[in-house]
Symmetry: C2
Subunit: 406 residues, 2 copies
């Protein structure tokens, strides 16, 4: 599937903006984002499974049930979790958004990301919101400024969009995403806001969102820490004019494939921009007993601190890969596992049938010094396969997280 | 319980030694250890749950079933896992040990720790073993040289011993341990060899070992990576002359308490000597619904990369503690959680009933700059409590593990 420009503003009838409202003292970048549809929408959401949920997550879970949200207000800097007045402030932010956009409160979703346990400066949101609404734009710049506004320790803005024919009609899907630390399967601190002009029922939208989330954001890990704020939202305004997707079938499959392609691309880029990351680390397991097993095994590899440190050191230490598979909880025959490393620098088999091979250390080093490194684990248990994405563990991860609050 | 000198040589009738046999090129320290009893023993063992098990682990699992081992031969440098001839070399090492000590093969346990996937230099073991046997000593120096021989990235030698009255007779328990990286509950790369002159049946010894392991080594984590080689062995030669412990009761309880006190002390020191660690990080959860819940919660906190990085940065970032509890898998009411930090520098409450408090940052910093930091999580679910031990995540962890093989 090919991608197009415009992020969340690529689909018809969506506007976005980002402004600097001063959530935290000495702001240096946009910290308040708005995404809004010109027309009513259906919506769906997937949220963190952490028992400790941020106030906006709890509020959005209720709002999404009503299924008619058409705008998202989001701030970075403060997570609005476990803090004074967090429930009150989440509701206030929803009401302020509704007022500024001329919508009812249950048409507005709210998200926060940043430090846990500190009070959200709702006064800054109140002051900044009119400017953000005024700045709303259908242009790619609108999506870009919103994408910037939700970044925390992210080093690059992350947007993506695609177009797919549904019932012969071009339908677009766009998304912006943030996430760099506290990222782990079952939704990492990540926010993903997707928009589409597809005409689709709430039930089918919800189902498509879950399918896309399962093979994208639920297959990445930066540090194994699951956040209190993770949220993946989608708004669908139907403005493409395609025949409404109301049930499974070819149209639904095409929509799911397009949404998966956007979300996998963003998940991959989120892992590559993991806090302090120097390498994107992809692990593909094939020949597992089932897709579920393959996913558990690949996740265990990309989550292993020792494997992550080895990749940082350009070290073909495949023993750590096999050990991580071994403690994943999946039963398998270690003597049936082949392990290779691959990148644009080449490919090298380092372990065959569970035993180490003599290999060319120079070639291995040439492969591992590349920015994107793949770990390929071929098993002989069945035909289950899955790919997960992570990043290396670096000095900078420790530096960033040893001193995040200050 | 008070401790005594002598490590594995503290109990009557045990000798130990360590020599440098040259398992790896350019050896710089002892790398081959022997622990042996003058008299026949009962024995018990607990092993890694990793699906990928090193060859000596698989062999010891068989040998322990026979229950009459009285010596341990261990090398550091190479894990003898997933490598050419690993099964053959484990068995060869057992036979060489038996030959050198004048025992039968099934009286000898073998252990290896180090790099996975490289061939064990069994020729070096063969050459070094006679010298190691000749050097065997009942003195504390014997235990110390064996403790040094099993170290890999450990920075300090770890031994402990205690004495307890059983049936009015003084009984001793001693142990040496290694472990610094690839350490995670359900047995980290750790080896623990314990000796005792207690007269105790095999069944009771096995049960005591499991109880001690569960509240000590299974409650620590350095990096979340479970090794292929973890082994906790105990040899009991009965030379103290106490009435044989054959069933549960006061004598058994006293023995278990003594073994737990030695193993908890060593587990704590293993965490403190975690790869690159600057802080020992202890998390105690009280008021959980059960002891099991408390353990899962405390383990999740000490395993969290973000919490570990915050402790490295002397940062009272309790939000990460609460988030780690939240994703542990245990259900609880976040609004019933109080969190404090404590050390010799003082104690400070930073989160009350799930919400952040304003707190004295200077006092917090004075507390967190100490070498040993406790995180106290008080809940309102029940009376379950547990303590787990970990360490901070530092630049040096990344450095050590980015370049371990070279």
């Amino acid at each position: 599937m090919s991608f197009i420009e415009g992020g969340v503003c690529a689909p018809k009838g969506f506007q976005a903006s980002g402004v600097m409202c001063g959530i935290r003292p000495n702001p240096v970048k946009n910290d308040l984002a708005v995404v809004a549809s010109d027309e009513p929408c259906t919506c769906a959401g997937v949220f963190t499974k952490n028992v400790v949920k941020a106030a906006p997550v709890l509020l959005d879970m209720e709002t999404v049930k009503l299924g008619k949200a058409r705008a998202i207000i989001a701030n970075s800097g403060i997570a609005n979790a476990c803090a004074e007045d967090c429930e009150v402030n989440a509701r206030k932010m929803q009401q302020l958004g509704a007022g500024a956009l001329g919508l009812s409160s249950d048409e507005v979703l709210v998200c926060s990301t940043g430090i846990i346990g500190q009070r959200l400066n709702i006064e800054a949101v109140e002051e900044g919101l009119p400017g953000a609404v005024e700045k709303l734009s259908h242009s790619p710049e609108g999506s870009a400024s919103a994408a910037e506004a939700i970044m925390t320790t992210d080093t690059v803005r992350k947007e993506q969009a695609t177009e797919v024919l549904i019932g012969g009609v071009p339908v677009r899907i766009g998304a912006i995403v943030k996430g760099s630390g506290m990222i782990h399967p079952n939704m990492g601190t990540m926010l993903c806001f997707a928009t589409t002009d597809c005409a689709i029922s709430r039930e089918m939208l919800d189902s498509a969102l879950r399918k896309a989330c399962n093979i994208s954001f639920n297959r990445i890990s930066v540090d194994g820490d699951m956040s209190t704020n993770d949220t993946f939202l989608i708004l669908a305004n139907g403005m493409a004019g395609n025949p409404v997707i109301k049930e499974e079938g070819e149209d639904y499959d095409r929509f799911v494939a397009a949404l998966q392609s956007v979300s996998c691309d963003l998940a991959r880029r989120m892992a590559a921009d993991g806090e302090g990351a120097k390498h994107l680390m992809t692990c593909t397991v094939t020949g597992a007993a089932s897709e579920e097993d393959a996913e558990i095994l690949a996740k265990s590899v990309i989550s292993s601190s020792l494997t992550k440190a080895a990749i940082f050191g350009n070290d073909a230490n495949w023993g750590r890969v096999l050990a991580a598979m071994g403690y994943s909880g999946v039963q398998f025959d270690p003597d049936g596992v082949d392990i290779s490393f691959r990148s644009v620098g080449g490919e090298i088999l380092v372990c065959q049938k569970g035993h180490g091979l003599e290999f060319d250390e120079e070639l291995a080093s040439a492969i591992l010094t590349q920015d994107e490194v793949e770990i390929l684990c071929e098993m002989t248990e069945g035909d289950g396969e899955a790919t997960c994405w992570g990043c290396d563990l670096t000095y900078d991860y420790v530096k960033i997280n040893g001193d995040y609050r200050s």
